[in-house]
Amino acid sequence: MADYIIRIENVTKQFAGGAKAVDGVSVNIERGEFFSLLGPSGCGKTTLLRMIAGFEFPSEGEIFIDGQASSLIPSYKRPTNMVFQSYAIFPHLNVFDNIAYGLRKEGLPGKELNRRVEESLAMIKLTGFGKRRGDQLSGGQRQRVALARALVKRPKVLLLDEPLGALDKKLREEMQIELRQLQKSVGITFVFVTHDQEEALSMSDRIAVMSKGDVLQIAGPKELYEAPNCIEVASFIGNINLINATVKGVNGGEIALEGPGFGSFGAPSIEGVKAGDKIVAAIRPEKLSLTAQKPTSGAFVEGMIKASAYLGDRSHHQVFVKGRDEAVSVAAQNMEREMSADFDASKPVYVTWDPKSLILLKS
């Protein structure tokens, strides 16, 4: 059995007079893992994190931290520490005292305490900043201080509540890499809450996608993207084209589908489908290709380019296909150095794909 540092078992959180913020959720988090809770705002991810931290208590279910049932343990007795969304740097204390805050409580001898704090300052590359006050730091520095203040306690689990949300894009990307490296080097389990799917994909070992208090899927970044288990996950992580299709026939490893605009097309079979079933065939924009010449073989559909956006490394095309309400999104890598327009908008184009790229989802 895997070594789980956190086991969340059937946890429900119902606020007084409100809906269920978290509804019967079970999640296991492995020791040393970078685990993300991903979902839109209001999906319950922060409530779940706050229950692990001990700021909220489950209405039902139990959370085990390192084997210990923790429902009744207050936050100040848990082996977890948190990096807050607002950073929560104490404004009446300087950087040194902020980081030393939790250590003073432990009654460390002065020398040891100094050494630990100086070590943390070095870790976050803020050596010499000890005497500064919180309001004399930039957003990125405050974020690092919050991180050092939590890590200096050597927690078993570090909880991070959207810690990068307030930073600008470039700094955020730097911090993503730094956080990931830091997590690898200290070897502490990180539980990271975010609504930013790219952030979650780039940093995490595993991700739990949440929606309306439920966990929809728990998987690694690649699996979430390439093999989502439902339409909600498929459309929340990245862009995707959805085709409402009907199963026409099942033939060994192949099934025949028919969908508006796409006519008849084939796909690798999945378990438990039979002729007549309604199904959703989904395909990522970058798995589709555009060509001006009508293909002689393979799967393709004819359409007209409605709009194109040039993004430098790639271009996004919206292709209108007869019989389908929504345009088909195609993402094309700009592999060649080419100044002229890709396609003539007045002439038909052909969207092609490899049937193996289709994701079949029960509707």
């Binding site: 007084a16 931290a53 001990g54 700021f55 207050p74 936050s75 100040y76 007795k77 977890t80 520490n81 948190m82 807050f84 969304q85 607002s86 929560a88 740097i89 104490f90 404004p91 009446h92 805050y101 939790g102 409580k105 432990e106 919180g134 309001d135 730091l137 930039s138 957003g139 405050r142 203040r149 939590a150 306690k153």
Partner: protein, 278 residues
């Protein structure tokens, strides 16, 4: 954006003359009557009337020689001190509850705590007197202080609620997350951050208690508080000038305290705002 300030300035300019005149008249109306106190306290005449008769400090000497007046002053200072501390503690507890916890009936509770601000004092005074008599509690400075605490707690709570609302709730959570108990979190985080509000609440409660007349009048025992004593002396024309000099001293002290309290409060909030935005 760039045109706005100039347009604003222009509009101010058009109405400027009239508005300035109104503002000056308003301030005169507020403060001229009060300024008569220090003016006549240095006037060498028993009668408070123009023309002024010449400069003297004898009313101040007479005042400091008046033992009853000094006793009343000390009584008021004692009551004020006790009331300031008690109502600030109660206000702090109330403010913490209102700003940090979700409670059923929270609005109603807050309203009830704030209500004494809006009930006419004479009604508060009479009802407290009836209650105190019914309970057979002898009237004394203690009953006066109890009445004042009832009156001052809403002031303290209003000041402290806005202070506690002003700082990030996750600061207290961060403290507990780092291993501090709720009690130590209060002393290491909440109290230092609320300190400016606590100082201004202490001063405000003290001043309200010190100036208060009606409740003191109803609830006092043998020892009057200063406002009640002053009122009782108005019958004797010869005492009036020394009352004026005492009034002048209190006036100036009150002004200094209020400005100080407001300054401390501002100091705290602007410092925090900077932190919040950065």
């Amino acid at each position: 954006m760039t045109t706005k300030p100039s347009r604003e300035a222009k509009r101010m300019g058009d109405a400027g003359g009239g508005l300035a005149l109104f503002a000056i008249a308003y301030l005169l109306f507020l403060y001229v009557p009060v300024l008569f106190l220090p003016l006549f306290s240095f006037n060498d005449s028993i009668f408070v009337s123009f023309p002024l008769q010449g400069f003297t400090t004898k009313w101040y000497e007479q005042m400091f020689a008046d033992e009853d007046m000094l006793k009343a002053l000390i009584a008021s200072l004692q009551v004020g001190g006790v009331v300031a501390i008690a109502s600030t503690i109660l206000g702090l507890l109330g403010a913490k509850a209102v700003t940090r916890y979700r409670m059923p009936g929270q609005g109603a509770v807050t309203g009830l705590i704030m209500l004494p601000l809006f009930i006419p004092e004479i009604i508060l005074g009479i009802s407290l007197l009836i209650l105190v008599n019914a309970l057979d509690i002898p009237l004394s400075l203690i009953t006066v202080a109890i009445g004042h605490i009832m009156l001052c707690t809403p002031f303290a709570m209003a000041v402290l609620t806005s202070r506690l609302d002003g700082f990030d709730r996750s600061l207290e959570e961060a403290s507990m997350d780092l291993g501090e108990t709720p009690w130590m979190t209060f002393w290491r985080v909440t109290f230092p951050l609320a300190a400016p509000g606590i100082v201004s609440s202490l001063l405000l409660a003290f001043i309200v208690s010190f100036d208060e007349f009606l409740l003191s009048f109803f609830l006092q025992g043998r020892q009057p508080t200063l406002p009640v004593y002053i009122w009782s002396q108005l019958r004797f024309p010869s005492k009036l000038p020394s009352v004026l000099s005492l009034g002048a001293i209190i006036l100036i002290t009150s002004c200094v305290l209020v400005f100080f309290a407001e300054w401390v409060r501002q100091l705290g909030t602007t410092g925090d705002r900077k932190v919040g935005v950065a």
